[in-house]
């Protein structure tokens, strides 16, 4: 009996260790995510101590709200479908072909994903908007149509598909297909019967991620949507900051919360399926030079797509920013301009960088702890549930979080409203999911028996982590930090609420400049966007050099 009790005690100890690791992330999310969101929902739906649940029905009955819901959903569907169609050939090419410059190109296609949505919007405005490149050349304007939004969404999410699907595709053993061929299947049939089912869960997971990002799209729609097109997120922003109708905003937040929850549950399910027993091989052995006209044409087509869809908007952005003689727009950034800000716009760079560094530190610590807890083999149902919860900040209205920060964190013991840490905290919320997603696959790939080997040689659990896990995840940790950095740099929805007027971040400054009339403001917006793009791109190119062959989900 005694023995049984000691074993139970050992299990309890391991549960305690896991709880210890999870405590900080759980507390972080409770205080800086759940609490502000709950507070703002309560503010909207609770007056004089009574809940007005009936508001949900009332708001849903409004025809303009239903119109927003309808538009949000169908544009997300169409964006997802378009992204898959455009990016799947890219995933194949990156997975199976080797060609000169592939590494650089991989980095290039990832740049849009880490670009701030505001920059993406601005770039497409410069390409297809009034006075844009297409307008000048052929008189074509798309900024009044939904196409501008859809194209921007494809631009933004191309990398998600190429990385998630291509990453797995590159690791599928080509001999599986060869085995099917030897059993009499045609090449197409072998692909359909063997490769496609293996890729299926990854395709589903990528599609869900794209759907999530486009469903909650804010910056892009805010800039390209004009008065006609509005997603839930944009509508929440409008209701909160322009109409001051908090109860409608609260209902919309709840709707988006429910939708995102459903999408994430589906995503978690597909990810689990993806992790089931596929035989994976080193990606470097599966890629080879293209053979035959068909394969070269495919490669050419993918390269052309990348150039037209991904590089052209960015190039136009840069070109517009140089529109005034002698770097006029850039020089204008350094001067006190007519009162858009209290400070020269150029200071936004310093603000953005210091906020992003702080946010990255927070995200890496919180995300790292969460990933370490989630890796433990004995992780139970509760912990796996937390895994899915960690993704929520990606989908829950950033606007709500930002506004929630303002109203929830303004009284003791948590009076942070005037503290600079508020902005990094909000940005870290979005960074944590990236950290967890990047580190988990690597941590899970560390052979358990390697840890056991260290343990048998006398290493304590903490020592095992330092000696075995850390050296293997160091690169993943750097990559995760880089993603968190880029994401913090570009965060807009929450920051727009909580950044103080005298300390704007780059995306906030760009949006404000765009909101004002005049060529000079427009030009400065382009110039600031270019700077932001260059900072993000440099961060990413550095990361790409560090990337291990085992890719995470992003």
């Amino acid at each position: 009996m005694d023995l049984t009790r000691t074993e139970v005690a050992a299990r309890k100890r391991s549960a305690a260790a896991r709880f210890g690791l999870l405590a900080a992330p759980v507390a972080f999310f409770a205080v800086f995510f759940a609490y502000p969101v709950a507070a703002i929902v309560a503010r909207g739906l609770k007056t004089d101590g009574t809940w007005h649940i009936g508001r949900i029905g009332e708001v849903l009955a409004q025809s303009d709200v239903r119109h927003v819901l309808w538009f949000t959903t169908w544009q997300a569907f169409v964006s997802t479908a378009l992204t898959l169609i455009v990016a799947l050939p890219g995933a194949y090419v990156f997975a199976r072909f080797s060609f000169p410059g592939k590494q650089v190109l991989r980095a290039v296609v990832t740049v849009p994903f880490v670009l701030p949505t505001v920059v993406v919007g601005t770039a497409f405005l410069a390409l297809v908007g009034r006075g844009g490149l297409l307008d000048e050349l052929w008189g074509v304007r798309l900024d009044t149509t939904v196409w501008a939004i859809l194209l921007a969404h494809v631009f933004f999410n191309y990398a998600v598909v190429v990385r998630t699907i291509g990453g797995l595709w590159a690791q599928l053993d080509p001999r599986q297909e060869e085995a099917a061929r030897m059993l009499g299947a045609s090449p197409l049939r072998a692909w359909r019967q063997v490769t496609l089912p293996a890729l299926g869960p990854a395709v589903a997971a990528a599609a869900l991620m794209v759907f999530l990002f486009t469903f909650t799209s804010f910056g892009v729609v805010q800039i390209l949507g004009g008065p006609t097109f509005s997603t839930l997120e944009v509508e929440i922003y409008r209701q909160t900051s322009e109409i001051f109708d908090l109860s409608t905003a609260a209902v919309l937040t709840l709707i988006q919360f429910a939708a995102v929850g459903a999408i994430l549950a589906l995503h978690a399910w597909t990810v689990r399926r993806r992790e089931t027993a596929l035989r994976l091989v080193d990606p470097s052995v599966t890629a080879r030079r293209p053979r035959g006209a068909g394969q070269w044409a495919l490669l050419g087509g993918v390269l052309a797509t990348v150039v037209i869809l991904l590089l052209l908007p960015l190039a136009v952005l840069v070109q517009r920013s140089l529109g005034a003689p002698g770097f006029g727009y850039y020089r204008a950034l350094t001067s006190e301009d007519g009162g858009v800000f209290l400070v020269p716009p150029i200071e936004a760079i310093g603000n953005s960088l210091s906020y992003a560094v702080a946010a990255t530190l927070i995200a890496v610590v919180i995300g790292g702890l969460a990933a370490a807890a989630l890796t433990r083999r004995d992780a139970g149902r509760f912990v796996r549930g937390f895994d899915a919860l960690l993704m929520l900040p990606l989908g829950v209205s950033a606007v709500t979080v930002g506004f929630g920060f303002l109203i929830a964190l303004d009284e003791p013991p948590l009076d942070l409203r005037s503290s600079w840490i508020l902005v990094p905290l909000a940005q870290a919320l979005v960074g944590v999911p990236f950290v967890v997603r990047t580190m988990l696959p690597v941590l899970r790939a560390v052979d358990v028996r390697l840890r056991e080997a260290a343990s048998v040689l006398g290493a304590s659990p903490w020592r095992v982590w330092r000696e075995v896990d850390l050296p293997m995840v160091r690169r993943a940790l750097l990559i995760a930090a880089g993603f968190a950095f880029a994401v913090s740099l570009g965060e807009f929805g929450a920051t727009v609420f909580i950044a103080r007027p005298d300390r704007p971040t780059l995306p906030v400054a760009v949006a404000r400049l765009l909101g004002r009339p005049g060529d000079l403001n427009y030009g400065q917006a382009m110039a600031l966007s270019t700077i932001l793009m260059v900072v993000c791109a440099v961060a990413l190119l550095v990361l790409e050099r560090l990337r291990t062959d085992r890719t995470g989900e992003f």
Binding site: R449, A454, V456, L457, V468
Partner: protein, 339 residues
């Protein structure tokens, strides 16, 4: 006793992988656990190492119950099946790992690493990357790493499993010599009987989480405890029989048994050497169904009417062709009544 397991039980989802195992290993003894895959032998090692908690029973090391003692404080060494060398460290870094964990002074570590690399036949290999090593070299490094902290008990999980045959045969001799010289206490598991017999002072055969037989290699080979052990050792001619004083009734007819064999319904083992081929008009009439070349002899598979097949060992030149009809007689000296 250095190591004692008492009623050690491990269940995976209701199924007992280790089922009330009692096992003792004396100091300086080399014990080899032999069993097919899934018999629970790796779980046994993991339970002793502290990597697998017991559901009931005890692991006792040096008279001390190990319940609640975590793996890193048990002071036993484990060499993993596929070595599990740390890929980011070089050879010396791997060998020194256990010494670093015990905070041995640096010069002492270096000295010990050199000593062990000499011992396993890889002098001067300290700076090499482990990814560059061949299978046999990796195995040696893994052994050096496990030996470096001088564990009181060294456990080996399929130590030679992934190596090719000739290397395996050479290494098993080296290991036996080495352990004898160092006086290491060893608990090894393997599914390869040749390896077990060559390495061990004592062989323990496991089946479905239980110990089926324990004894010296010669004991186990000569008198398998039951039909399972006999079949696992590669003997095919195992049947149920009714044993009388001089002969037994078997599906192959009357078979002579050695004197003093236990009587009644028993399991009978006929070694291939005890199946003598004679001309077709004498003894049990059989057709040759197959023959396989075994190097020193030819194994001839015989189909006697509707009785179970018989395997006979024939000299290279005397072996009959497939399809030939022969007679079979039995040699009492090569017949064992089991259980």
């Amino acid at each position: 006793m250095l190591l004692a397991l008492r009623g050690a039980t491990v269940r995976f989802g209701g199924r007992a992988v280790l089922d009330a195992v009692d096992l003792e290993v004396a100091e300086h003894e080399i014990v080899c656990v032999l069993g097919p895959s899934g018999s629970g032998k790796s779980t046994l090692l993991r339970a002793v190492a502290g990597l697998q908690p017991l559901d009931s029973g005890q692991v006792v090391l040096d008279g001390r119950d190990q319940a609640g003692v975590p793996a890193h404080r048990r002071g036993v060494g484990l060499m993993f099946q596929d070595h599990q060398l740390f890929p980011q460290r070089d050879v010396a870094g791997n060998v020194a790992f256990g010494l670093r964990m015990r905070s041995e002074p640096k010069p002492r570590q270096a000295e010990r690493v050199q000593e062990l690399l000499d011992l396993v036949g890889l002098p001067g290999a300290g700076r090499r990357a482990v990814a560059m090593l061949s299978g046999g070299e990796q195995q040696r490094v893994a052994l050096a790493r496990a030996l470096a902290p001088s564990p009181r008990l060294l456990m080996l999980d399929e130590p030679l499993g992934q190596l090719d045959r000739s290397l395996r045969e050479r290494l098993v001799v080296e290991l036996r010599e080495l352990f004898g010289r160092l006086g290491t206490t060893v608990l090894a598991v393997t599914h390869d009987q040749g390896e077990a017999f060559a390495l061990a002072d004592r062989v323990v055969v496991m089946r479905d989480g239980r110990i089926a037989q324990s004894g010296t290699p010669l004991d186990v080979w000569q008198r398998p405890a039951d039909a399972f052990v006999a079949r696992f050792l590669g003997f095919e001619n195992v049947v149920e029989a009714t044993v009388g004083t001089e002969a037994a009734d078997t599906p192959w007819g009357k078979v002579p048994v050695p004197e003093g064999a236990p009587q009644g319904t028993r399991t009978l083992l006929v070694r291939p050497a005890g199946v003598r081929l004679v001309t077709a008009d004498k003894g049990l009439r059989c057709t040759v169904a197959a023959r396989t070349f075994r190097g020193t002899h030819v194994a001839v598979h015989l189909q006697p009417g509707d009785a179970p097949r018989l395997e006979a060992a024939c000299a290279l030149r005397a072996a009959p062709e497939v399809g030939d009809v022969v007679g079979v007689e039995f040699d009492a000296a090569e017949i064992v009544v089991l259980g």
